[in-house]
């Protein structure tokens, strides 16, 4: 480091420096290994083991019961729907603010609010929606008493697929806005002008230039929003108790030891969650590689 004696030659100095270099990230590597990689590997391996430690596919096989499959199905659909609408609405909002249509002055407040709302997830968010659209929520009550509209009779239930999706959108949309705004800022004014002077309509510009350029960012955010919704436990539990059977709630109950009672089925459930988010991200990486040939 700050040795007073200059090294005798370049060679010993270099030999000394190599392990020292790597030492710098050792704390980080150990921490990540202990508290992220190894716990995850424990789950993955456990999913393929019998209680005595021998290899088996039985745990995974046990997932294929109608109730567990249904739980995965509804989890995936909620995550897809909330990621899709989150991307769509968030993109529309960000585009309207960045590219005109809406005044630039609302940009600052919008970004700040998005920061807050994207972090306002979990238990309090569920309370907010219960107080608004729940059985005695103020909109439910208002529609019932003032307008005579009974949301329940119309088929709306907060503790359902659409109810959960609607609630998740509260943090999904702002997250999309936060991530996609810098990408929209990266669209150069000259591209739009060049396209238009070459005869392209606004729609042609979006289809042939802007959207292809934004595709990697949009796909990435979609994958992130999907994982975000898929792993959301707190919002779901606080909102529905355990009345809606989605995978995170099932796993939560399993870990708590409430139901099922087979620890290795728990491993398999958790492994299934990793597999789903893993597949989502692999698809994303593959799509990104395809759409990003033109990037460095």
């Amino acid at each position: 480091m700050t040795s007073p004696n200059p090294p005798t030659g370049p060679f010993p100095a270099r030999r000394m420096r190599l392990p020292f270099h790597w030492l710098g990230i050792l704390p980080f590597a150990v921490f990540v290994l202990l508290f992220l990689i190894m716990p995850t590997m424990k789950i993955v391996i456990g999913a393929f083991q019998r209680p005595d430690g021998s290899f088996t596919f039985q745990n995974i096989g046990n997932l294929f019961t109608p109730s567990i499959l249904a739980a995965y199905g509804i989890s995936i659909r909620i995550s897809m729907a909330s990621a899709f609408f989150g991307c769509l609405i968030g993109f529309g909002t960000a585009a309207a603010v960045v590219l005109g249509g809406l005044p630039r002055a609302i940009r600052g407040p919008l970004m700040t609010f998005s920061g807050v709302a994207s972090n306002f997830a979990g238990v309090p968010l569920a309370f907010a929606f219960l107080a608004t659209l729940g059985p005695v929520g103020f909109i439910t009550v208002f529609l019932q008493t003032e307008l005579g509209i009974n949301l329940r009779m119309l088929g709306f239930n907060l503790l359902s697929f659409w109810g959960l999706t609607l609630t998740y959108l509260f943090f999904q949309i702002p997250l999309m806005i936060l991530i996609i705004t810098p990408a929209l800022d990266g669209l150069k004014k000259e591209w739009r002008e060049a396209a238009s002077i070459l005869g392209a309509t606004n729609a042609q510009y979006w289809r042939m230039v802007a959207l292809p350029i934004l595709t990697p960012a949009i796909l990435g955010t979609f994958a992130l929003l999907f994982a975000n919704a898929f792993g959301a436990v707190a919002t779901a539990i606080a909102l529905t108790g355990s009345s809606l059977s989605i995978v995170p709630i099932l796993l939560f109950a399993q870990i708590r030891g409430d139901v099922l009672g087979d620890p290795h089925l728990g491993y398999a459930l958790a492994f299934g969650m990793i597999a789903v988010t893993g597949v989502a991200n692999t698809v994303y990486i593959w799509l990104r590689a395809r759409s990003e040939r033109w990037m460095r």
């Binding site: 480091m1 700050t2 270099h21 990230i25 704390p27 980080f28 921490f31 990540v32 202990l34 508290f35 992220l36 190894m38 716990p39 995850t40 590997m41 424990k42 789950i43 609405i89 529309g92 309207a96 249509g101 809406l102 700040t112 609010f113 920061g115 807050v116 972090n119 979990g122 238990v123 309090p124 309370f127 907010a128 929606f129 219960l130 107080a131 608004t132 659209l133 929520g137 103020f138 909109i139 959108l169 509260f170 949309i173 992130l224 994982a227 898929f230 792993g231 436990v233 707190a234 539990i237 606080a238 108790g241 939560f252 870990i255 491993y267 969650m273 990793i274 988010t277 893993g278 991200n281």
Partner: protein, 260 residues
């Protein structure tokens, strides 16, 4: 026409985001029949369970920030300075907590560090707290790392380091006296965000069975009517406060960086 649709969409969006906030605020004030009152807040704030769990979560949040800063700042700095080829890999690892659900990670903790394992952290309260802080550090890692790494990008790490070395500074001095002050705003942003994430966190705390604020809110929500809404308002205010502080410090930096 385009404007009309843009404004229409904006108003619907605003309604969607504001109504739940109005809903919870409205509900939280209705504990006393027929009139608006702060009864729910008074009741919540007077609850010793609230005070205990809130203090516990604040303590854990501060510890998480401390661990996160000491883990992330030297690592991000070192990777930028000496191991730039590792940057994409380290970045990938820091993004993993966004992909691996927290409930899976904490399940791994319970199985890996149980009382009969080689490192029986869940055996004692202190050990479990250590585990929880580690878990929270992982949850906050993507945000903390990105904030710090972006902060480092704006300064010339190599030149600053060489300048400090030429003046005889050691590594500890360089990191604490040169690098940290220069990325202070980034670190503070990451810290406030960490605080906002940890303070209301539910899954890890509930499954590790620790008396944190998140599980307390959930239990209260299952058993009471008006107090949960008051808690939601408080939690929202905390989140807003943290994000507001981030804005404040970054504005402070902008004015500090303006040429004299």
């Amino acid at each position: 026409m385009k404007r009309f649709w843009a404004w229409g969409a904006l108003i619907i969006g605003l309604l969607y985001f504001i109504l739940p906030l109005i809903g919870m605020t409205n509900f939280s004030l209705k504990m006393r029949r027929g009139v608006y009152s702060f009864d729910a807040y008074a009741k919540v704030l007077a609850d010793t369970r609230f005070q205990e769990t809130f203090t516990y979560s604040v303590t854990l949040a501060l510890l998480t920030i401390l661990v996160g800063v000491f883990l992330v700042v030297p690592t991000a700095y070192w990777v930028r300075l000496k191991l730039p080829f590792l940057r994409p890999y380290v970045e990938f690892v820091t993004l993993l907590p966004l992909v691996i659900p927290a409930i899976v990670v904490v399940f791994g903790y319970i199985r890996l560090y149980n009382t009969s394992s080689w490192l029986p952290l869940t055996g004692t309260a202190l050990g479990t707290d250590v585990l929880l802080v580690a878990g929270y550090t992982m949850l906050a890692l993507p945000y903390m790392y990105r904030a710090v790494d972006t902060g480092l990008r704006t300064i010339d790490v190599t030149t600053l380091t060489e300048a400090a070395q030429s003046l005889g500074a050691g590594w500890f001095t360089i990191i604490t006296r040169i690098i940290l002050p220069n990325v202070l705003v980034a670190v503070l942003s990451g810290a406030f965000l960490t605080f906002a994430i940890v303070i209301g966190e539910f899954t890890m705390a509930a499954l590790l069975n620790r008396p944190a604020f998140g599980p307390y809110m959930q239990v209260l929500g299952a058993n009471r009517a008006y107090e949960p809404a008051a808690l939601a308002v408080i939690a929202f205010a905390i989140t807003w406060g943290c994000l507001g502080l981030i804005q404040l410090v970054s504005r402070f930096q902008k004015s500090a960086q303006r040429p004299v």
